[in-house]
Amino acid sequence: MKIRYIILVVLIFAVSFNSCDKVDAPFIESRDYCNGNKKVLIEDYTGHGCVNCPGAAVLAQELKEIFCGRAVIIAVHAGYFAQPDFENNPVFAANFTTEAGNEWDTYFGNSAKGNPNGLIDRVRVNDSYVIYPQSWAEVADPLLMEPAEALLQLIMILMLATTPYQQI
């Protein structure tokens, strides 16, 4: 009888071992982001007093490179960590907050959820606009696969025979 239970336990553990996916190198998936015309907006909500925010800014720049330049980054200084601290630390004396940034921060609730975080094209994920840096790439990826809804281009053509230059 006891043997029966031991066999049962061994079988369950054997099944459990099958619930593993060992991934072999190379671990990075190559994806061509240079084929496409849509850009995504990364709004990085930050503050000079936020110790984890520089990492998010670096990540945003890395994503821009990975996305073949198809990311537009803006940093929004807002909330508690963005408050200037004139008296105690000259490094934090500057006020980088803006009226628009404060309004966005209040509306989307970024600093209330804890910096660093951001908005990606202001899309909602799981009922929230606020997206933490670790999910920026995940959210931006499918957006970059879509075609741009509108494409504005500014092209300079030199028309020597007529006027000095012409804008199209």
Binding site: M1, K2, Y5, L8, V9, I12, F13, S16, F17, S19, C20, D21, K22, V23, A25, P26, F27, I28, E29, R31, V51, N52, I66, Y80, Q83, D85, E87, N88, T106, G109, A112, K113, G114, N126, D127, Y132, Q134, S135, A137, E138, D141
Partner: protein
Amino acid sequence: MKKALALIVLSFLFTPMVKAQGFLSKSEVHGNFELDGMYYQADDALGITDSIINGNEFGFNGFADIIYTLGNFSAGLRYEAYLPPIAGFDRNLDGQGIANLWASYTTDRFSITIGDFYEQFGNGLTLRTYTEWSLGYDNALKGARFVFSPIDGIILKGVYGVQRYFWTKYENNNRGIVKGFDAEINLNDVFNGMSDSKIKLTLGGSAVSKYQSDQNPFYKMPKNVAAFAGRFNLGINKFNFSSEYAYKINDPSAINNYIYKPGAAFIFSGSYSTKGLGIYAQFKRVDNMSYKSDQAVTSNALDINFLPPLIEAHTYMLAAMYPYATQPNGEIGFQIAINYKVPKKSKIGGKYGMGVSINYSQMNNIDRSAPNDTAYIGQSGTMGWNSDFFKFGKQIFNRDLTIEIDKKFNKKFKSTFKYIYQKYDIATIQGHTGEPIVNANIAIIDMTYKLTSKKALRWELQGLWTKEDKGDWAAALIEYTVSPHWFITIADQYNYGNKHSNEKIHYYTGSFGYTLNTMRIALTYGRQREGVVCVGGVCRQVPASNGFSLTISGSF
């Protein structure tokens, strides 16, 4: 799930075999609740202005557990409200509703639970779901749990479900599905020949797996990540030894910066206990052992496993200023604790004896080297690092020496004297990048004087001296208790050593409370200093605040 629960509840409620009278007399309803309210005030000294409060003057956290039992059947629900969460709690908690709902049927040999449940395998290295109200933490599994004990001494457990993630409903594999199995055998119960043996031996093993679809555009993510653990507990007379080793396959995540190194955790503890003397020692090593049911989550949520802390948990005001947070990416350390009771009527012990305890713990980073010639340590998309199993890294995360003496002088007067030395890597543990390691000396005197059989006066004097962080602190507390109902407390923490004159702040609080049977109400007014609150190595940041707080709690 709710329909299934309702069906089970109804089936029991309307079982014809149960007569109405017997049904009512055998039914029991129990529960407990806690309501925490906070009213915030602007405080120029703390840098809290009306614009920062921005109209959010109130915070409220509350819960109530209601449990119904009828014989082997039990069912319960947990209502929670964070309207909005008190400052320092995760803002994702904002909301209210039925957080947990469950039903269970239990006999001597088996138990089945559906709905939300808590479970732990061994020490929790592969699986532990629990709730901790003071952290706003709840990683309950929603699904099914089965416990089976075929014979005395053998316990088999199986779980299947998804974890709670604040108020976000599970859909479209937005987090992983967790399944696990645990087996434990007590050899003394199973084998008759060992039933009277002085050697007590228990063996156990567990296997846990999570499934999450690959949603990461950059890395090849494993969809199924499993963890395994083996453990034993051995008792020989006055000695006890226990150990557990866990192994996890490649689990790239935001916590480990998407490296593919397998994870491992090992704990070993030994203890000796005899009359008047207890010795306890523990060793622990963790290497890349964060295990969450969503690889993109970095906050305190969705942890499948638990890495038990090894540092002494301090509760006194200043001693709790630098609490240690478990470093799941890697830590190695040990703890030694000695408790000795100086006998009564001895020269040192006096009439009532004296308690002496010494606790030393240290936690270092693990030793790491680059995984290969072309990658740096911890580089994402690589194996991360190589590490010798028993080699200590040079970086000390935390060192703690605590010496405590408990002395009763007479029937009315007793006291506790405590000295603590702490070395604390505030840059790593609290994320204060660039700040130097804190070396702090702390002294505490805690005295209680019984005025009458029901009235007592207790006071604390504390000092913390350090050249780093915010400098020196002094604290005092006085508490008057009228048992069993009333207490009133006044306390102050003064940061007199702060190098900025405008930050030499008094953090004063006054509180009183009333207890009636299992009900308790407490009102506090004062300042809360900025800091970190940790329970079991899991921490949350607490911002500075000023205002009233009200707590009402009870059980029935």
